[in-house]
Symmetry: none
DNA sequence: AATGAATGAGCATTCATTCAT
DNA sequence: TATGAATGAATGCTCATTCAT
């Protein structure tokens, strides 16, 4: 039935999407209320279930929808050939900050997905994660130019440190800017901060 | 009424504690069912509320209980005077792995606390967090021996990289060993793996 | 949501109304069971709360409903211009006996309202009472023809005696006929009895 | 078991009595909480049920206790030989106002008894009422000096008017003084007001 | 396609009463 | 005599889901 959802007029489709994204993002799967969603979207109870069968169906649809959106974004705007993992990850960070500004609700939703504890939904989620996320990661990390690294560096571990550091920085900034409206977010500043870490990592790991 | 809870025979007390910890850890505050808890604990509905007033009371009790347990563990077995932040954090990692083996449910519970979205409980949680967690962090990071670091290293950022890396490693191992029964967990192996990162960090940051 | 209640088919609407009126009338607000009401009405738990939000909402709806019904009855069928307070109050008595025959449950319900002790409902009740009841009383007592009274009679007190006497008679008859099925109630007899008191009061107070 | 209750030290007995009277008076039988009562009285749950078997037993004990207290008061201080029903009823009014000042909680309790809707308690209450109240009323009304009345007056009805009027006045004053602390109640004023009605009734009914 | 009335299992919480100590 | 831990049925209320229209 989900296929029919795309035949809806765009405006209504977005109203539903936004309402559901917001509700799930704020409250998580279990505590989100379909009532709230239909009220916010201005549609009837029945229609929601007509398209998505049940709450879980709606949730997983949103998940797939946003994962696809992110992956598309990533692989359209990322130079996969770039062997410099640091510059590549810098680019990823930039794309993420950009997306965060354009689709803040999406990030809240995806964060809630990561933290999802509801067992009936978690296993389904993990199944889907595996494929897309795993292969995306693999692609990104596939053609690393190892000649950039100093000799005697364990490159696998170095890459982990790079990823953990940049993720750690991202999370730290998210918490610090929690109360800043997304449209006022100063991405240049965030990137600058990120660059300082990248410089450190570069001088440590690169020749 | 919580004070009376401690006067219960140990076995029953633990049954209640374990049942609640497990249920909250698996489902989060909002979706956890007190019904499930009393059934698992083998006590009556009324008794739970006799001790903890309401669901929120039980949740926050568990939180306080485990935070105290962790803080006690940390500050009893940690040499706060040690200025070597890397060796100190190594010790923290070891203590965490140890605790994870002895109280695996506690970690799931505390993780669920961190991810809690339920607003009626979140504000209360944040209030409590502030004091204990913040001051604990401050104490641990208070007397760092900066003379150990290479010159020209931004020590603040270095410490962040250290923390993010070791946390990243911990999370990675948690996911990888998710299906290993906790009592079969090979802590020595985990520590060995951690030590490899610590060695890297040491050669990067220390003289 | 109450507005939707009136769009229900009459038969179901009355089943709900009657069940709730009876339950509240018998047990008062606090001890009435919404479970009992839905079972008696033959509807689901959810539906009741769909229409009335909560128990209090249902109770206050019934109160408003019956007060309006009584006030309508009173002011449609009562000659407010009649300055003869005794003949006017006789008419009121008659209308009350009539209503009691047609809507016996309503009287039990309204009696239970008057005696309500539940604090969360009492204040709301008093707020509503004030307006309608107070102004109704005022209207009824507004244009009394004082020239009908003997001189030297304290008319204010005389009117109180009239009201208390006729109310006293009403209550007495209610108790005496408690076990008589309402449809067998001989209103003519009741009115006759009332008339005897009215004659006494007339000879005492009127010229 | 109730007999044993009287063997308790007076102070504890009164704490229990007062707590129960207050709770029932405020909330009625059904909504009163035995928990509240034992907490207020400072005794254990078990003790209450040891003496009174169940909530109903406690309630009916209090009822019997206060009815006896009132009847004692009435028949000790009332001149039953007095054939002047108006002066006798004046005396009753005075005694009631006096009691109201000394035992305000008792009146709230007895009022709540009168309004009791709980069916399991109501029938029991009615059984007990019948005996004591009925015979008390009979005694008071037994030796009325009918020669005081004007001829052609229906004395039965006249007495009803007297009772309803004085009761009406009492209730009216109760409502008007609802917010006056009992110890500030100006009984002389209340009696004065009552006397005005008594004078009217006298001039209406007596030679 | 779209509605929203209707369902009923599920929820947290209360409370009179019991009983081992 | 006195305690208070323990019970479990009952309470008001919510919510995903169904289905006749």
């Amino acid at each position: 039935m989900i296929s029919k959802f795309f035949k809806l007029e765009q405006e209504k489709r977005e109203r539903i999407l936004n309402a559901a994204t917001k509700e799930f993002g704020e409250k998580g799967f279990g505590n989100a209320s379909t009532n709230e969603i239909v009220m916010e979207a201005g549609i009837s109870k029945g229609l929601l279930f007509h398209y998505f069968t049940n709450k879980k169906g709606l949730y997983l649809f949103l998940y797939d929808y946003y994962v696809e959106l992110m992956v598309d974004e990533l692989f359209t705007k990322l130079d996969l050939e770039d062997g410099d993992i640091l510059s590549k990850w810098r680019r990823i960070g930039w794309l993420k900050f950009e997306l965060m500004k354009r689709h803040p609700e999406m990030f809240d939703f995806l964060k809630s997905v990561y933290e999802e504890t509801d067992s009936e939904v978690k296993s389904e989620l993990e199944k889907r994660n595996y494929d897309v996320i795993e292969t995306s990661y693999a692609k990104i990390l596939s053609n690393i130019d190892t000649s950039l690294f100093k000799p005697n560096i364990d490159i696998g571990r170095a890459i982990n440190i790079i990823i953990w550091t940049l993720e750690g920085y991202g999370n730290q900034q998210k918490i610090l800017t929690k109360n800043t409206p997304m449209d006022l977010l100063n991405i240049e500043k965030l990137i600058e901060g990120m660059d300082e870490y990248i410089e450190m990592l570069k001088s440590m790991f690169y020749k």
